[in-house]
Amino acid sequence: MKKTEYHPNGGVSPELNALDQLDPTDTAALAQVGVLTEGEQRAGTLILRDFCPICIPNRTEGLELLPIATALEKYDWLREKYFWKAVPTDLDEITEQCASQQEVYGYFAWVRKGAKVLLPCQAALYMASDNITQVVHNVVIVEDDAELQLVTGCVTHQNVYSGLHMAVSEQFIGKNARLINTMVHDWGPDVTVYPRSGTFVEAGGCYESNYISLRPAKIITSNPQTRLIGKGASAKFLSVILGVEGSMIDMGGDIYLDADDTTAELAHRGVCTGGEMHQKGLLIGNAKCKAHVDCAGLLLNVGEEGFILSIPGIKAHHPDARMSHEASIGKLAPEQVEYLQSRGMEEREAISLMIRGFLGADIDGLGFELEDRIAEITELAGHGEG
């Protein structure tokens, strides 16, 4: 490994490998959200530890992963064409505050035309110190015919109790390009999280977003905006969330189907063991399109305060928009648990298997990354039962 250097002002050189700046508790926290700090299973790595970007040089052809500040210095066109173009600065107080920052932190991932990055590329937004405000701005560009799998881990150190995390993410997916973004969140109990995200998908492009929340923050409100602007573009959203006592999670997702033959699927899966869980989603059909939104919640011992509110929405402006929605909230029925017990399972084993089944039900092609995270949620949720 090369000699390491800290660049607290964020102007770190991507040539430096600073991963061994991380102590074992850091790497453990990062591993929790799928960010690997050793091995060769990633095409590129960028970790923002509080305000310090740590970047491993990547030699994957066609891929560039940089701290956003470095990228803005290096590429003039970034600010002109992409920066603050998918999310307006005046969207709300959060975006206004992000736009007013002097220093810009975050990551920039760029896959050039036709490049297919086989291994996942990873970025971590990591809060290692208690009670800080981390404001980030990320830009992802996947050019025409290119492909990228991005693993984004947002996590707090085990000793971090409170803090504020605000993130603007802008993503641009070119013609026949594909972006799979798997975001795993694992927060301290009193952290407030406001992601603001905007994505454009051009003709034939495909965006897949998987959001997994293991330990919820105190407050998360997220309503990513996706615009399918080219013919045949598609988007697929999945959120899998564990809600606990004292948390308020509001997960939305607006998808605009602006061009013919666009398709969208939005699925929220929530296990609520307390706190408030809002599952939303709005599909807007502006062309000949096909779209479905599906919210499913499972209540486990929520007490008097906990609830799930599901509001899947569809709005059609075009006669050939085929749109549908469904929502269901249920509990684990005793006869189901006992049925599995009659096969020799312990009650807890039965409950775990059922939660796992609920979270993964009807969702095809979960990768092993997601399988692992869902197994963790199952484990965590199971603690409240039995």
Binding site: A333, Y339, L340, S342, G344, M345, G357, D362
Partner: protein, 254 residues
């Protein structure tokens, strides 16, 4: 002490669901190596009896005892009873979204590799392979549910197996397969087909008895076993005179 040769012994069992008495001072004994049939009109308590033997929480034992191979299991939970060797094939098992039949089979056979192969072969022979990776009991026909339930029992190899109407909602062709699976479950030693495991089969129509031999039959009414005897004679009587004849029997205290 005298060796206990009974696989199942039920003594003066009273079972309630809430305030309602569903079984009243019920007695039943099934010796090792015997399979018994259980007849009775709707609502007489047949399914309740099976569910209570398995230990489902809806069915509260107020008094009496359930012994499995001499061991008192009355206070054990369902998991423990299953592990001691009781298996059940329900008539209307619950569907569980996202839980696959294969996952349950994997769980049951985890400690026994030989059994994994056996179950695989049975699944193939019973044309069940396509159901293995579907939700358990979800969108299955009557015959498919019977086969799925029996496949799980075959994987578990219980000492004592119970089946609730394995012949209901099953067409003749499927019934033959169900019959074969039941026989496989009770007689797992092809060299000695008469050496059987013990079991209890609820049947309304008696159709399953065309494929599976039973040693004895019991008739339930009004929350008790009313009559016990030769299965063919009892079935014959019920089909000729209905359950009224058996009620007569009970009233006369025969």
């Amino acid at each position: 002490m005298k060796e206990n040769n009974n696989v199942l012994e039920i003594k003066d069992l009273c079972v309630y669901a809430g305030q309602k008495e569903l079984l009243h001072n019920l007695n039943l004994t099934i010796p090792a190596g015997e399979v018994h049939a259980l007849f009775g009109p709707n609502g007489s308590g047949k399914t309740t009896l099976m569910m209570a033997i398995m230990g489902f929480s809806r069915y509260q034992v107020k008094s009496g005892q359930i012994l499995l191979a001499g061991k008192d299991i009355t206070e054990l939970d369902i998991t423990e009873r299953a592990r001691w060797g009781i298996g059940i094939a329900q008539q209307l098992p619950p569907a569980i979204p996202g839980v696959k039949l294969q996952q349950v089979l994997d769980y049951v056979t985890a400690a026994n590799h030989q059994q994994v192969d056996n179950v695989g072969q049975v699944a193939k022979a019973a044309d069940m392979e396509r159901f293995l990776n579907r939700d358990i009991n979800g969108n299955l026909s009557g015959g498919e549910i019977r086969r799925a339930e029996l496949l799980q029992l075959l994987a578990m190899q219980p000492m004592f197996s119970m089946m609730d109407e394995p012949d209901s909602g099953v067409d003749l062709e499927a019934l033959k397969v169900v019959g074969e699976l039941v026989n496989m479950l009770f007689s797992d030693d092809p060299v000695h087909p008469a050496r059987r495991k013990a079991g209890l089969i609820i049947t309304h129509s008696g159709n399953i008895l065309n494929y599976v031999h039973v040693d004895k039959a019991h008739v339930m009414f009004e929350r008790q076993i009313g009559c016990t005897g030769n299965p063919a004679i009892i079935l014959d009587t019920i089909s000729k005179y209905g359950y009224a004849e058996c009620t007569q029997c009970l009233q006369e205290g025969v």
